[in-house]
Symmetry: C2
Subunit: 370 residues, 2 copies
Amino acid sequence: MAEPIDDFFAVIPAGGVGSRLWPLSRAETPKFLHDLTGSGVSLLRSTWDRLLPLAGRESIGIVTGRLHGDKVGEDLPDVDPANVFIERDQRDSTAAICLAAAVLQRRNPDVIIGSFAADHVIRRQRVFEFTVRQAVATARAGYIATIGIQPTEPATGFGYIKTGEELDIDDAPLAALVERFVEKPDLETARRYFSDRSYLWNAGMFIARADVLLAELAENEPELHAGLQEIADAWDGPDRDAVLDRVWPGLKKIAIDYAVAEPAADKGRLAVVPGQFDWDDVGDFASLWTLIADGRRGEVTVLGENENVLSDEAGGLVVSQTGRVVAMIGVQDVIVVDTPDALLVTSPAHAQRVKQAVSSLHDQGRDSVL
Amino acid sequence: MAEPIDDFFAVIPAGGVGSRLWPLSRAETPKFLHDLTGSGVSLLRSTWDRLLPLAGRESIGIVTGRLHGDKVGEDLPDVDPANVFIERDQRDSTAAICLAAAVLQRRNPDVIIGSFAADHVIRRQRVFEFTVRQAVATARAGYIATIGIQPTEPATGFGYIKTGEELDIDDAPLAALVERFVEKPDLETARRYFSDRSYLWNAGMFIARADVLLAELAENEPELHAGLQEIADAWDGPDRDAVLDRVWPGLKKIAIDYAVAEPAADKGRLAVVPGQFDWDDVGDFASLWTLIADGRRGEVTVLGENENVLSDEAGGLVVSQTGRVVAMIGVQDVIVVDTPDALLVTSPAHAQRVKQAVSSLHDQGRDSVL
């Protein structure tokens, strides 16, 4: 087994609820705390396990909310408590990742930060490691690196990265400059991207030296940068909470794509390493079904309790958190999510709409089931 | 209010589980114990209330199974315990109805028995009473009378009664002979019947003098008749249980349609009174939806707990026995039946298949949810 990479520190932002996966995902038990693949462990734990050979136990950190600190600790008993960054409240991905970068840079000035979502599914570990090692080498050379996923279909649900000029970096043979980022395309455009191998899915993974990342942030968002530096100065001392209380609420909410990645791409500072591993952000129940059904749409796929699901020739997805009998009779392409206090019935074509249903429940004051 | 009819005794067979309405209907709480219309009372209780002005409190009896005797008593506190006939086990409708007839004839030799299912929905009470009074008059004249429902659509799910020659009976202006019974037709035939006003739905209601009914049975099924007479002789004495234990298990299981009605029709002894009241046997969840949705199929119709059902533009039926949130998102024509230990998801087109699902659960040894 290869050694962890020198100076590499993996940061796992674990913030989003994943409301398109309600009622499985809830404010108290968000998507990353669930086992969505039947692997026996949560997505967060899978992410930890995947990064362990690359970063080592002492060099993996989590950024999460107050509500989830305890559960993250239970799920990851090996995590160093000093590496758990509890957010006062959510300020979007730039604040989450760059705060960790600023704190970690004070602990190790040469640190290279990699940011990896807590709630994605990745398969083909060897290819993943091979790709991340190249991205770290690219970051060490001074670039902000991202990993782009080689598309396996003309997807319209992801943003794309257009790769540009190849770079010539030792240990990163596949690295290239990013020409530009592209918003989610329509189907025709997605088909064109799919034939043109230079368009990759933007999976939101970033790897950069902390000093490079923070310098880029300082150029684009100087106030946010200053606020994070002030917090980082106090983080490992007695004034953390006081400074947090004072500074954090004023920080700008902005995604790292806009605060760092896109401006860096425009300036020729963003590199991409294409990843050939299997990646899925499991954005909704339709994606989940595709992921775990392995193409067998003509039968009922069950996640969770399964000895009590009965169906005739119907095809569907049943996510069961209860011990109840679930009978699917004469229905096709129906998704049923059965939890103790809420039941969802939807279809793959409309699974995205679950988010609106959650908003609607919130508007009706039914937050107890959200 | 009109007086109860002299010598008329209404018998309510309350036996069938209604397994097409699983998981609402169960062996322990069959269809007739449920409020399927949101009226606030069970179908059994509605049947009792409907018959009360015709027969009077002392002259309504129930034939039911051992498992349901107590619940029937709770549901009908006014029933005379002497009029509750507990079946040792189910022997089909001839044994159920003719045993009651034989016992009641010993109590009143002139008794006229009417048999009315415990689990049908009937509306337009005045028309129902008008029809039953004619059927009793027809029975008093010596016929076995049935009530045929004037079809409101070309239904393929019911058997039909072809009316023949008109009779000339005082107080029964609409009574006619039954020409023959017809099995459930195909759609083309049903359409023909629907245009031809002489075909009526067979709703399984029979009204006859006990002596006439039993004489007809004696002709067609002499052994069954003899067995029932033997039990009836002992019923109101000390040997009821001993005779039941000895004789009941050997009784033939046969529907009253075959043991009495069809042979009587062939011999010109069966009369029919057409009923213009609304009648529904609520055979499955598709019928239930039609019944309670009142044609509004584009929205979600809720039976039971309703403040927690959420839907977008979807149309469907939600039967809820739990307090859970039920969200129907982007699904059309889906039927969801949510009970504490079992969940059914089906469609109107396949609601009939629920019966097979129940068989399948039985075969798998999961009778605890049946």
